[in-house]
Amino acid sequence: MTDPAWIDAALSGARPRAVGALLRYFRDLDTAEEAFQDACLRALRTWPVNGPPRDPAAWLIMVGRNAGIDGARRRAKQTVLPDEAELSDTEDAETPLAERLDGADYRDDVLRLLFICCHPDLPATQQIALALRIVSGLSVRQIARAFLVGESAMEQRITRAKAKIAASGVPFETPGPVERAERVAAVAAMIYLLFNEGYSAGGRQEDRAQLADEAIRLARLLLRLYQTEPEIMGLTALLLLQHARSAARFDTDGEIILLDDQDRSLWNTSMIGEGLALVDKAMRHRRPGPYQIQAAIAALHGRAARAEDTDWRGIVTLYEVLEQHTPSPVITLNRAVAVSKTGGPQAALDLIAPLEGRLAGYFHFHGVRGALLLQLGKEADARTAFNKAIALANTPAEAAHIRGHLDRLLQPDRTA
């Protein structure tokens, strides 16, 4: 009941709610984090003896708040002039805990915590790093490893990001409906970035999986806060359906295995099941959005027991709908891949020809183009495209994948 693994899970499960509430009390991120740390230390001492509390988050908030207040008092003594006003303010905050923890408050607390990580002045990688540190509670070392940078560099990056947030002020007023919707959208975008980082990052499989796992955890958290938002259902479904394939995406040498060639018995069926259930739920609302459409595409892949069972026509249609929602050359490129399955490689090449200018610096554009040219037997053109792709590869695995194509092209006795 109180073994260390369970306590660990309870602490990290309670973290977003507890740090979110402590941030509201102390109005300062560092103080809130310190207070939470203090509470966790207390939990590690007392829970094994007394058993875990019924509601770990409420316990941590109460203990953390008291620890934070004690800390403020100690610091106040050290700095000679105790700030009476501030202290009595904090005392006033000690209204009954139950009332303070009501659903709406807790929702805004967690949303605020997620939202401050999405500050528009912060570059995407800093937003993600901050969310991993503050909301997920990953250690700086874990985050640094996932991003393939040194620990001190990551430490600096996070410190700078926090300073920027503190300088611009954390929004403590209760958000109105429009503002809340904007925050939810910003948080969803950050979670999506986090997942993509895990999906595409090089580095060790476990580090990648950890980022993806965290993204899914945050998406589920957001969905629990906003149970009726079809786009959040779509986002969660999309991440689950994509992550379900992770065990099949690389071979033992770390080489990319394309969807068509993946061993589908390695797909995680319970993740696919949950993703499909969420797509189903979202459709009922008849308010489609980009995450839902992408999830619906992933669902069509997830439903196909064999590659040849894939409903490519359905996927082409969904990409068309997605392009109407969010026009983007990358989406057209994806549609072209689907079109190559229904209308052949030439139709797909015609579709992507006008994209050349905008996607000239995009690895996947040249990779897809090379593969299509190869299907048409235009080997010299394919080789040129693959060479361009290799130069633009983001990870060793991507480069290795294209090199595989080139190697096969160079073998004189290959069988087509």
Partner: protein, 121 residues
């Protein structure tokens, strides 16, 4: 006597288990499952997807709402059907399961009607 054991636990804690922790809990539970099955005591058992996957129909207004019926601190995450001698044995089994699967609570409810239905899943 037929009993249901309803498994309640804090979803955010269970969802914070890593795959390894989850696997470890399941492996330990499976020891008990296997014994109960061998003794002919274990009926259908199920683990529910997270409450975020739930949809609720409020019958009188025919109102469909996303999410679980009850917003509670612990959520209904699974259930067992058992054929056992009575409450005493039920509690013994629940204690054993609880050693493998910490946190939350097991609710023991005698069954009034049991329809095994077709074999699904």
């Amino acid at each position: 006597m037929l009993y249901a054991i309803l498994c309640y636990n804090a979803e955010d804690v269970v969802m914070s288990w890593s795959q390894e922790e989850d696997d470890a809990v399941m492996a330990q539970l499976n020891v008990t499952h296997a014994r109960l099955e061998a003794e002919g005591k274990l009926g259908p058992s199920l683990r529910l997807m997270p409450t975020t996957a739930a949809t609720t129909l409020f019958k009188s207004q025919d109102l469909v709402v996303d999410g679980p019926y009850a917003e509670t601190k612990e959520q209904l995450l699974g259930l067992y059907i058992l054929d056992i001698s009575g409450l005493e044995e039920g509690l013994e089994i629940a204690r054993e399961l609880g050693k493998a699967n910490p946190g939350g609570a097991y609710e023991l409810r005698p069954l009034r009607l049991y329809l095994p239905g077709a074999s699904v899943g």
